[in-house]
Amino acid sequence: MLSNMTTTASNNRTILTTAIGAVLAVAAAFAAASFAGPATVVAVINASIRGTVPIALGAMSGIFSERSAIVNIGIEGMMLIAAYVGFMLNVFLSGPNIPAFLQYEPVRLMVALAGGVFVGGLMGLLHALLSVRFKVDQIISGTVINTLALGLTGYLYLAGATTSGRLPPLIANPFDESAGVAYWIGEIIFNKGIITYLTVILIIAITIALFRTAWGLRTRAIGEHPRAADTLGVNVYRLQYFNLFISGCMAGLGGVFLTLEAVGSFERGMTSGRGFIALAVMIFGKWHPLGAAAGALLFGFATALQGQLQFFGINIPHQFIGMLPYLLTVIVLAGFVGRARPPAHDGVPYEVE
């Protein structure tokens, strides 16, 4: 079903590229496993997945927004605020004077997650309000959100606030080391938190929704030619508000992943440009969820490789190795993607006649 999820040749090419990439990755993994041992390879793959999840979610955020004709450079800020809110809710709910059922860890973590995602959604709505209702330049509106997020979280951040617990692995690896390859594959597939699995499901669900539902058709239509959609009775503004809320939620989930699943603590400016990388990845994927996911995976892999190279103690200043993922992004965007065609009306405010 996924193979004919697309409408244009360029999207088919994206999928083909993804498939070739996947095959190459598996081949590389086997080669590396025989060279560096399976533990290292699995560690790199798991690190890749950890790196991929927030970027992929950020890219989904971008797709929701830009397919609805609104440029969203505020993903970074939305992620940051959601990360902060998720973290602080978790801290707050484990504090004094909180009913016991809320203190119960699974409930507490889920409430924190939902809270973070919801606040992300609210930031999306703020972006929509500024750019749809008040027709503020969308780049400025996004910058406002980024600056706001950085300042607000930096100001409110309580040094020394520690969290008790983070999202646990949803399913433990059923194999033990005696199972050989099955164990290593299990290490990759299992032992992941809920957001990681949710991300995979979301990417597939968004692909289906965008290309196989009435909502998707209307969303793509307002991204390309809002006037045409308007003359056919599609409420352009309402759809933009709705999609921007979802866009914020996606960014929020990516932010919450950082504090509740990956790290378990909050630092100032901890998103460190992931929101912007997500935008690049979205363009790499030509505004297609699967393509964007492939781009996120590439970036996640480069991040993991970079960590591993530093770990190996290769004699290059670590700052240079740290550049690897970003350099890769630039090279891939400039060299391999070529001219991507954004939604035709992306970034242009729509005025009802």
Binding site: T7, A214, H225, R227, A228, T231, L232, G233, E353
Partner: protein, 626 residues
């Protein structure tokens, strides 16, 4: 007349709509019957579009009422109009290029099973509609791959899919080729026969006579008459529409061709997708003649004109304007060689919508005198440097000569006056007066030599300037000055506005706010105002009103008579035959025939444009006579 016995499906009564400064609709009333094709005829700005937008719910009338099937309706938005069975095909299609035909049609009223789109069912319904109404389209084709004629069908099906009983077609033929227009008329008759009522907005008289059942003519916001094709002629309709007698035939005397101005030799070019669309085109246009290039839209005319105006690279071949080889030269080089260009898409290539009329009128002359005026600050550094160099060198040479003279002759002479032979032995006291004299001489001489050096430098500059300045100006982008002289621009613009009858509140009005006809007159004024030696006019009257067409045609002939060579490219056969002295027919990028205009019939041209061989077509009348 038979349609008038049917039910009235739509009636507007005493509609008045005031816009700031304009009474767009003044007490307008009209009726539309079931299954009727009603032509709404009027020039741009006559109030046709305002009236339709009121019916369609985009505007609200200040007074008056709209009755649909006998009931008064007030639509707050087009959505409500659509739901009441009114469909509108806008002049600018509301289609999404990257989506399929079926997606475009069902958008907003999607066919779903559960939450998923059922595109197979949607395509089936589209196919059903297209068969039912003889509107052949492929539901799975992408809009961007379709020619405009087919895109228009998609728009019509969009309305029919929403059960439109009343179809408003806003200038539907403006973008169509003659063949596509015939197709559209067939479709319209077919729909009318099935009971769909059609309002056909246009200003093209032939079309009205060909397809309408009834004609309502508007002028200045008012209905000035209702008639039928049987009772009217092109001339009578034009007179009603414009309010005076209109010359439908262009008056022109035989041409007196002189020197070759444009010589195109074996020119080929590719379109944006890399297909060869201009193939080995050779033609000549002489001073004082109009060469018409006839052809169905999309046969390489656009690209040919783009190459000849420097907007597209030729892949092979060459062209010369007045003997200068200008293949792949810059548009400015071609413009300054004496070529004027009326582009086919005036809003994209002919003007800057947000610029004022005055600015638009100097869009390709702003860098010349008197619009770009001295002082020429851009050249100052060059002349400044040259002046300094000349002055310093001449001063240095003179100082050197003087120094030698002073040291060897004058200084010993001064010392001799005071009886000093060796300054080193003379002592401070004795030297004070000769030193003072020396200092005064030095100061006086510096001033003297300085002014002489200045005079020399100024003279050299004066001599140098005519030789250097043109080259320098060319290097700097051909500007005659850096300072924009708005007074001169405005004076020039006011003259052109008067001369070319451009209807605008002032020359400071943004060009984009003029009506289409006046925008085109503005473009024409700019190009003709420069008295070009070669005029390349592409679709010079597309989508504009009769009055403006008449005016522009007369001006083109006047340019010809003034000795300009005119290359006219048009998809309108009437325009080609009315203006041309010779006609070149282009088909699939090749000139298939070049014939004198008075020896060829419309039918022959039509056949040639459709790809028939020149031999067969042009031999036919001879046989007929034989």
């Amino acid at each position: 007349m038979q349609a008038n016995t049917k039910n009235v499906v739509l009636e507007v009564q005493n509609i008045t709509k005031q816009f700031p400064g304009v009474l767009a609709n003044d007490n307008v009333s009209m009726k539309l019957h079931e299954g009727e094709i009603l032509a709404l005829l009027g020039e741009n700005g006559a109030g046709k579009s305002t009236l339709m937008n009121i019916i369609y719910g985009l505007y609200h009338a200040d007074s008056g009422s709209v009755m649909l099937n006998g009931r008064e309706v007030h639509f707050a938005s087009p959505r409500e109009a659509i739901h009441s069975g009114i469909g509108m095909v806008h002049q600018h299609f509301q289609l999404i290029p990257v989506m399929t035909v079926a997606e475009n049609i069902v958008l907003g009223e999607e066919v779903t099973n559960g939450i998923f789109l059922d595109m197979a069912e949607a395509a089936r319904r589209v196919r059903e509609l297209s068969e039912q109404h003889n509107l052949a389209v492929d539901p799975d084709a992408l809009i961007e791959d379709l020619p405009v004629g087919i895109q228009q069908r998609v728009e019509i099906i969009k309305a029919l899919y929403r059960d439109a009983q009343i179809l408003i077609l806003d200038e539907p033929t403006a973008v169509l080729t003659p063949q596509e227009v015939q197709e559209l008329f067939k479709i319209m008759r077919n729909l009318a026969a099935r009971g769909v009522s059609i309002i056909f907005i246009t200003h093209k008289l032939k079309e009205v006579l060909a397809v309408a059942h009834r004609i309502v003519v508007m002028r200045g916001g008012r209905v000035v008459g209702t008639t039928t094709p049987q009772e009217s002629t092109e001339a009578s309709l034009a007179a009603m529409m414009v309010g005076r007698e209109v010359l439908l035939r262009v008056e022109k005397s035989p041409a007196h061709p002189e020197d070759i101005i444009l010589e195109v030799d074996g020119l080929s070019a590719e379109d944006d997708r890399g297909h060869m669309v201009v193939r080995n085109v050779s033609l000549q246009v002489r001073a004082g003649e109009v060469l018409g290039v006839a052809g169905v839209q999309g046969n390489g005319q656009t690209e040919l004109v783009e190459v000849l105006t420097g907007l597209r690279r030729a892949s092979s071949g060459s062209f010369q304007i007045r003997g200068r080889l200008l293949t792949n030269a810059s548009p400015r080089a071609i413009t300054s060689a004496g070529s004027g260009h009326i582009p086919e898409d005036r809003q994209r290539y002919g003007m800057v919508k947000s610029y004022t009329v005055a600015e638009n009128l100097v869009l390709n002359t702003y860098y010349t005198k008197p619009f770009a005026s001295d002082p020429n600050w851009r050249m100052l550094p060059f002349f400044g440097a040259a002046y300094t160099a000349v002055a310093l060198i001449s001063f240095g040479v003179m100082a050197l000569i003087w120094n030698t003279l002073w040291d060897n002759a004058l200084w010993p002479l001064v010392l001799g006056l005071f009886g000093i032979t060796d300054p080193a032995e003379a002592g401070r006291e004795a030297m004070s007066t000769p030193n003072l004299i020396g200092l005064i001489v030095l100061i006086v001489l510096t001033l003297l030599l300085g002014s002489v050096a200045h005079q020399i430098a100024v003279r050299v500059m004066r001599w140098l300037r005519p030789h250097v300045e043109p080259r320098l100006r060319h290097m700097l982008g051909g500007s005659d000055g850096l300072v924009f002289n708005y007074d001169a621009v405005d004076r020039y613009a006011e003259r052109l506005v008067k001369e070319y009858d451009i209807r605008t509140p002032s020359v400071q009005t943004p060009g984009g706010s003029l009506s289409g006809g006046n925008q085109q007159k503005m473009v024409v004024a700019r190009e003709f105002g420069r008295s070009p030696k070669l005029l390349i006019a592409a679709q010079p009257t597309r989508g504009i009103d009769v009055g403006s067409i008449e005016f522009i045609h007369q001006r083109i002939v006047a340019q010809r008579d003034a000795g300009a060579a005119v290359l006219l490219v048009s998809a309108e056969l009437d325009e080609i035959t009315a203006l041309s002295d010779r006609i070149a027919v282009i088909y699939k990028g090749e000139i298939v025939a070049t014939v004198p205009a008075d020896t060829v019939t419309r039918e022959q041209l039509g056949l040639l444009m459709a790809g028939a061989s020149a031999e067969d077509v042009l031999r036919a009348p001879a046989e007929a006579i034989a």
